[in-house]
Amino acid sequence: MIQFLVKRFIGLIFVLIGVTFITFILGYFAPGDPIRDMLGEHFNLVVYNQLRHAYGLDLPWYQQYFNFLSHMFRFDFGFSYKYTNRAVMDILKDGVPVSAELGFWALILQMLVGVPVGIFSALKANTWIDTVNMGFILILYSIPVFVLAVVMQVVIIWFDQKTGASWPVSNWGTPWAYDPADLSYKVIPILVFAAGGMAYIARLSRASMLEVLKQDFVRTARAKGLLERVVIYKHALRNAMIPLLTVFGLLLALLVSGAFFIENIFNIPGIGYETVQSISDRDYPVIQATVVLFAVAVVIGNMLSDILYSLVDPRIKAQ
């Protein structure tokens, strides 16, 4: 077990170095000179050189990369190019709780809805209920999240205009607060955000459940005369849940890419929104920081699900 963990951990470090290196080198070769832009018409060679030195831009690339890494371990992503003297972390600090909240509830919802829907469909396999259900799930899974988001907005606005209600279609409210007013902001984006992953989990748990129901031990349990309820919920369900552990990292990746769209379409001030803003401002340190943050989240999610999987199913270690 220890050996497995160490191996996974080395793999993790390798991937992190790869990800940070890509992020760094793209920023390093970025066109334009941020310092020159920053100075604008007040350009002065002495100040220019001083600033370059202050930002560490006069060092060779490997030293810059090393600095980038060592600062990153201290959650220090340097200073924003656009808002001079504002640390990047400071800018991101407002966005992180919002994005985390969005992702947290979406994950919970995906598990709470996706798993039962998939299991239900597996139990009704090859009936019309299953066909309709899985058809719907496949559509939900395939449709891009931003299409779902704008269609949802159209529906809400139409609903508002018909009934005179005033459900908002943008903004977020206070992070981690759940007054009725806050909820009205949050429910729809979270639902839309969760939809793709929910469908994915439903498909996966259906397939997994069907696989388990074919196993010998289920037949044995039935042959012993156990109640169908006991067979399914006690014997089959637990085993069917195991493969779901492996998708945690994948779900996170899905959520990360979804966050850009959801936050931009619903005007939610999370990190995805801030990233897109900073792209149009060419504020590279902010872009690099968000990319690294998101990537680290996904990598750690992957690692967690690997470890959980090996705990639940010891056979996996052997590979």
Binding site: P144, F146, R282, A295, V298
Partner: protein
């Protein structure tokens, strides 16, 4: 080459796309059966096979196509895809010849359909109109024809998908086969690369790349003659980025398949009879990759189309005045409470295209790998 001449039954008889997808033990078990089945009827080679045979049994490809034809959902998807391809390719040409002359009040000129059905032409006093005889799908907030812009956007989506798929399949098959067949350092590099690509959400990389180099790409790529300065230049960068994150997955599929194929007896037979590695790869391995590559690339097309639309939606892809489905969505989104049609139209079309490719991919998977179902 020589193997095939000496023993045509062996090399073509095992060309079942599905044999190789099952785990090896099953494949071993299944093989004698296939051998018995196929020995009396050498398929594929028609002029040789015609004589002395009562009935031709279908080749594996014909078998798969027959299964595909029976799949109504997949066939409907093919219909939708063909419709959109035709619409995007020849739609604009026809559309620009339909319609009478129109007297524009703003420029005080009389213009024909070749102008007002042009995706870039703005008719500023005809903003946000609903469907009409002149503007079949209405106009957007700058008085541009939505139908023309939509066809342009579909063309962009499909062109990007094609470009990405060419790179994806080319690189994926090349690296995957080499890694699977020879192993060694190529395999190691591929494994690490796929690790990173899996960890690094693809879209994030595309956003990073287009975010940093987008403006420069506009300048550099718009000098290329075919692309020109119409706002589409950045798409080349988007395509490169999308292809870059897509191919390692393809390579991994191909590698897995190659690993299984190279243990099969027909490859062993070829090697025993002195066929060179290059010949084995080109004649025995690559043709057998057909099913896995076609399924994976069809499924990847919908990801690519979503990716391009998404990147354009975030303002990082096609630049105005160019048109893309993603750009149309984000432009329509600004008018969502007064003119929902302008956002619904591109959204629905995008959903249709994406669903068609997903369904087709699923159908192809069922047709080529019937054993993978449930």
């Amino acid at each position: 080459m020589d193997t095939k001449d000496k023993n045509p039954d062996l090399s073509s008889g095992v060309m079942f796309p599905d044999t190789s997808v099952v785990p090896l033990e099953i494949a071993e078990l299944a093989k004698p059966e296939h051998g018995v089945e196929t020995v009396p009827t050498p398929p594929a080679i028609e002029d040789e096979g015609k004589k002395g045979l009562k009935k031709k049994s279908p080749t594996p490809l014909q078998d798969s196509l027959r299964r595909l034809r029976r799949d109504k959902r997949a066939m409907a998807s093919i219909g939708v895809i063909v419709f959109f391809i035709v619409l995007a390719l020849i739609g604009p040409v026809i559309y620009q010849h339909i319609g009478g002359l129109y007297h524009s009040d703003i420029s005080n000129q009389t213009i024909g359909p070749s102008q007002y059905h042009n995706p870039y032409h703005q008719e500023l006093d005809r903003q946000d109109e609903f469907l009409s005889g002149q503007y079949w799908l209405g106009t957007d907030d700058l008085g541009r024809d939505m139908m023309a812009r939509l066809m342009q956007g579909i063309l962009i989506s499909l062109a990007v998908a094609l470009l990405v798929e060419i790179v994806d399949v080319g690189l994926g098959v090349l690296v995957g086969v080499l890694a699977g067949y020879y192993g060694g350092w190529i395999d190691q590099v591929l494994a690490r690369l796929t690790d990173i690509v899996f960890a690094f959400p693809g879209l994030l990389f595309v956003i990073l790349l287009t975010g940093i180099f987008g403006a420069q790409a506009d300048v550099v790529f718009s000098t290329i003659p075919i692309i020109g300065p119409n706002g589409n230049a950045r798409l080349l960068l988007v395509s490169i980025a999308l292809a870059f994150v897509a191919w390692p997955l393809m390579a991994r599929f191909v590698r897995g398949q190659t690993l299984q194929l190279k243990e099969q007896q027909f490859v062993e037979a070829a090697r025993t009879s002195g066929t060179s590695d290059t010949q084995i790869i080109l004649r025995h391995i690559v043709p057998n990759l057909f099913s896995i590559v076609i399924v994976a690339s069809t499924l990847n097309i919908s990801n690519t189309i979503i990716g391009e639309a998404g990147i354009s939606l975030l303002g990082l892809g096609v630049q105005p005045p160019g048109s893309s489905i993603g750009l149309m969505i984000v432009q329509g989104q600004g008018l969502i409470d007064t003119h929902p049609w302008e956002v619904l139209l591109p959204s629905i079309v995008l959903a249709l295209i994406v669903l068609a490719f997903s369904f087709l991919g699923d159908g192809l998977n069922d047709a080529f790998n019937p054993r993978s179902k449930d």
